[in-house]
């Protein structure tokens, strides 16, 4: 039986086909999906903040873009992904939920998360093959490990990456 693996805020999970990995209600957070088509192993991390150096007290690397993405890679290797070059990355999220006060620097966290994820991927030589980021709508995503397709659902639409 295929299982649905749920990833909560600031969590990281990996799984193998025929399972699916799901994270619900992404706002300013970003869901980073990584998938290896050869082994059909994939993972997802739900990052909240861009930079772990901002943290005063945290023991959870999955919460930050700069530590969460490398951790995702490491977990995939542990699960049996051999060639990093084959890993496909897709990112979703980084919205500004409350658009009316976007001048408020605090709310720029969505945009800062997008930048941080992209930079970290570049440093790790990972190519982002598809993304649906920014805007002001919350999204839920499902990574299908049979195909590597990411289904993106918001209040009004459903589409695939």
């Amino acid at each position: 039986m295929p299982e649905i693996v749920r990833v909560g805020m600031a969590e990281l999970k990996t799984a193998k086909a025929p399972d699916k990995i799901v994270t619900l209600g992404l706002g300013s957070c970003i869901g980073v999906c990584a998938y290896d088509a050869i082994s059909k192993i994939g993972g997802m991390v739900h990052v909240m903040l861009p930079d772990s150096s901002l943290a005063i007290e945290s023991t959870n690397p999955a919460k930050f873009a700069d530590t969460g993405v490398p951790l995702l890679l490491q977990e995939l290797k542990q699960q049996g992904v051999i060639t990093i070059e084959n890993i496909i990355i897709k990112i979703v999220g980084g919205a500004e939920m409350f658009a009316a006060s976007s001048k408020d620097t605090h709310l720029g966290v969505g945009a800062r998360n997008i930048l941080a994820v992209e930079e970290t991927c570049q440093e790790l030589n990972l190519t982002i093959s598809a993304k649906s980021v920014g805007g002001n709508a919350g999204k839920s995503i499902t990574l299908n490990l049979e195909t590597g397709i990411v289904e993106v659902k918001s209040m009004n639409t459903i589409f695939v990456l």
């Binding site: 619900l24 992404l26 706002g27 909240m48 006060s101 966290v109 919350g138």
Partner: protein, 209 residues
């Protein structure tokens, strides 16, 4: 800096009391605004892993109407009001003195009405908190979103991610007696603010737990 695991029972009690007095004032303000009797629950102070926050609100994908305000001043924090979509419609009907069932969407006007409710209730809440603690506090312009509850709470909780892996929520539910409207009111202190609030009330970190 205060971290969640240092919080003892006395701190919880104080936070509950803050929630109680603040939300009491806020509920009174709402009651006067719509001339209706309002009941509220004893506040719930909860600390939970980020991953489980949306579970208490009926699942991350549930569609809700939310009003969000930032609080500036001595102890910055965030305030979030959440209503189910239907209940938010009813609330707008009441504010605008329309028959029940009139409002069917969140246009500019309806959003504005809900934001104003958020504004007035926040003002009442902060006034009570200021009187109690002597801390100077001001709220931002309210913003509105109708979306997944998980996505809305994300925004309010991100800053807390910097000081730990747990969310601290001071939650009060209020309900209108005559019509079925249940609102959630959340106060989410910024990193560092918890210490200031508790300190102002004489239960700082040195207090016996």
């Amino acid at each position: 800096m205060f971290i969640m695991k240092d919080l003892g029972q006395s701190h919880f009690d104080v936070l509950k009391e803050i929630g109680n007095i603040g939300a009491g004032n806020a509920a009174t303000a709402l009651s006067q605004l719509i001339s209706q009797k309002i009941e509220m629950t004893v506040p719930n102070v909860s600390i939970m892993p980020f991953g489980s926050v949306s579970d208490i609100l009926g699942g991350a994908e549930r569609e809700v109407a939310g009003v969000y305000l930032r609080v500036f001043g001595d102890a910055p924090s965030k305030i979030v009001f959440l209503f189910s979509v239907q209940e938010a419609y009813s609330l707008v009907d009441m504010i605008l003195h329309c028959p029940a069932g009139t409002t069917q969407e969140f246009g500019d006007f309806e959003q504005s009405a809900l934001k104003e409710i958020g504004n007035i209730m926040t003002g009442a809440y902060l006034h009570a908190l200021t009187k109690l603690t002597g801390l100077h506090q001001l709220s931002s312009v309210p913003s509105f979103a109708c979306d997944m509850v998980g996505a809305i709470m994300n925004t309010a909780l991100t800053d807390l991610g910097m000081i730990g892996d747990y969310a601290l929520l001071i939650e009060t539910q209020f309900s209108l007696v005559e019509r079925e409207i249940n609102g959630h009111f959340f106060l989410v202190p910024d990193p560092g603010s918890l210490e200031i609030i508790l300190g102002a009330l004489g239960v700082g970190s040195s207090c016996q737990k």
